[in-house]
């Protein structure tokens, strides 16, 4: 079984965001880049599956769509344990453009399970995994919070709004994963980091693909009014304010 984990290279979650060119572009100066948190969990679970000898997982590939600057993030994924990496050489565009690049990688590679995160922490699109599965015309399971392999099929827990479902799905499929899929993201060990340097990282050209949307402009949220402080022995006053000023009780 071959697994492909799609990795989005995103700004560290503590980044103070800034925009440039009249608020039409994200200003990435000084930004620290990380593996998108959900992709990191997907990779962690994938490594757990591979290490359990009862699973027929033979190879784990990680892929990202992005410029050369995204390679350290791919190396990090290799250090966590992926066998090889692919970078599609493009300034990543909208979700449709990215999904089209990933579909082309899948068509060239024969993967049984393909994982994407439920969203990326930058544009919060929640779109790439679903689009990819539709382009490939294969099943997708979203909001995956646990996954195991049983008789060559994946047995998955997914969150539905108001509960959980256990579903099984034959390969190939796209799993769109969220919290729960792995407990803690795995951190690369020194040995992994050394080995990652020698693992193959293939760069492939982008294919032609149309964007369907365009991020036209960014706006910072309105600054919030300062917090009204109430003394700890004036709980009654807080209740009064919530009831009569904020009108939320």
């Amino acid at each position: 079984m071959r697994i492909l984990v799609c990795i989005s290279n995103v700004p560290d979650t503590t980044t103070k965001v800034k925009f440039s060119n009249d608020n039409t572009a994200f200003d990435d100066s000084g930004v620290q880049w990380i593996i998108n948190p959900w992709d990191e969990l997907a990779l962690t679970r994938t490594m757990e599956l591979k290490e359990d000898a009862s699973n027929p997982v033979s190879n784990v590939t990680v892929v990202t769509v992005g410029p050369a600057g995204a390679e350290p993030t791919l190396r990090k994924a290799l250090a966590i344990g992926a066998d090889d990496a692919i970078r599609v050489d493009a300034e990543s565009g909208d979700a449709h453009f990215v999904a089209a690049q990933l579909a082309s990688v899948v068509n060239d590679g024969e993967y049984d399970m393909i994982f994407c995160g439920i969203e990326s922490s930058d544009y919060n699109g929640s779109a790439v995994g679903g689009m990819l599965s539709e382009m490939l015309d294969i099943p997708s399971v979203s909001a995956v919070s646990s996954l195991r392999i049983e008789n060559g099929e994946a047995v998955i827990t997914r969150d539905i709004d108001g509960g959980k479902e256990e579903v099984s799905v034959p390969t190939p499929f796209v799993g769109v994963v969220q919290k729960g899929i792995a407990k803690e993201p795995r951190i690369a060990a020194m040995r992994g980091i050394m080995m990652a340097r020698k693992k193959p990282l293939q760069v492939v050209p982008a294919i032609e693909a149309e964007p369907l949307i365009h991020y036209q402009e960014y706006v910072m949220p309105e600054p919030k009014a300062p917090c009204k402080m109430i003394e700890a022995d004036q709980v009654k006053e807080l209740v009064n304010l919530l009831q009569n000023e904020a009108k939320v009780l």
């Binding site: 980044t15 699109g125 679903g130 382009m135 369907l212 365009h214 991020y215 700890a232």
Partner: protein, 322 residues
């Protein structure tokens, strides 16, 4: 130009979320000069269906013999058939697990630009430009749709219900799809019976590591009950197993927008705020006067949550009793 809205049901009932979607679609339809058709999949009583008319749907298409459980490919085919039948150019869904699962597939199938987590009506309709949050709530973006057709998923609690009166006409709809192609099989379903879902709650009472131990959650649960709300927690609290994972709010957990969010012993890390900063009113209780939660809060108390909570329960009960 007609707007199609997918109204999901829960055991045959629509929730406020579905009505928000119809309200939004109806305001949108006025902007583009068209009418709203709602699509319902699964068994729903006629009264419940026609009640969607009160929020602006003129028509309801009902597919009542769909197989149980969400198969993303099957739902994509059903909704595509409804878009084609009604000649709709805009599709509105919820930005919940269902919407996130099927909207991207529909975007590819219909070649329609997809804007997810939309927070308000478009600021222009030709071209269609809609606002959404990006960078987990740190900024907003204006998203321009470049295609003829558009798909929007609406962030929950971001649009007020608007009752227009009227009832919708109901039409049984046969999407002509082949269920033999369904490849995901449902083995087991566990519903959170009788419990208010965190995402639906208007009031959320939340605890962080400052609550010290799982044994101290009594007053949080009591307060939630008194206010008809739900309980939530920060990530370390669910990681520790003090509270179930469904309660974890924040960037990597649930993103919520209740009317009232009360945070007890939560520091207000940026990843936590990403999930709660859209709440209409935030109350924070924390022993540290410099905790970042106070920058996001509307009302704050510097103090011991374990002492403040029981008093708050008493005072709120007293206020409610009046």
């Amino acid at each position: 130009m007609s707007v199609l809205v997918y109204t999901e049901n829960w055991d045959g009932k629509f929730k406020k979320l579905s009505l928000e979607l119809v309200s939004y679609a109806s305001s949108l339809a006025k902007m583009v000069g068209g009418s709203v058709t709602a699509l319902s999949i699964g068994k729903v009583e006629q009264d419940e269906l026609s009640a969607l008319g009160a929020y602006g749907a003129t028509n309801v298409l009902s597919v009542d013999d769909a197989p149980g459980g969400l198969d993303n490919q099957l739902y994509t085919s059903i909704i595509t058939a409804a878009m084609e039948m009604t000649g709709s150019k805009v599709l509105v869904l919820a930005h919940n697990n269902t919407g996130k699962a099927i909207a991207p597939r529909l975007s590819v199938r219909l070649k329609a630009g997809l804007a997810t987590g939309v927070t308000a009506l478009p600021e222009s309709v030709d071209p269609l430009v809609v606002p959404k949050k990006v960078f987990s709530g740190k900024a907003f973006a204006k998203v321009k749709i470049l295609t003829d057709s558009a798909i929007l998923t609406l962030a929950q609690n971001s649009f007020e219900l608007t009752e227009t009166g009227g009832s919708a006409s109901i039409e049984a709809f046969d999407p002509g799809v082949d269920v033999a192609g369904v490849r995901t099989s449902i083995r087991d379903v566990q519903k959170q019976e009788g419990k208010l879902l965190l995402s639906d709650a208007e009031v959320v009472i939340s605890g962080g590591r400052g609550m010290k131990s799982t044994d101290n959650w009594g007053p949080i649960e009591e307060l939630a009950e008194v206010l008809g709300g739900a309980t939530a927690c920060s990530r370390p609290v669910s990681d520790e197993g003090w509270r179930p994972h469904e309660e974890h709010t924040g960037q990597t957990g649930k993103i919520i927008a209740p009317n009232l969010y009360m945070a007890f012993g939560i520091s207000g890390a940026i990843q936590h705020l990403a999930g709660v900063s859209s709440s209409k009113c935030i109350v924070a209780v924390n022993t540290d006067k410099d905790a970042p939660i106070f920058e996001a809060a509307d009302y704050g108390i510097v103090g011991d949550a374990l002492k403040v909570l029981p008093e708050l329960v008493t005072e709120i009960k007293a206020a409610k009793a009046q």
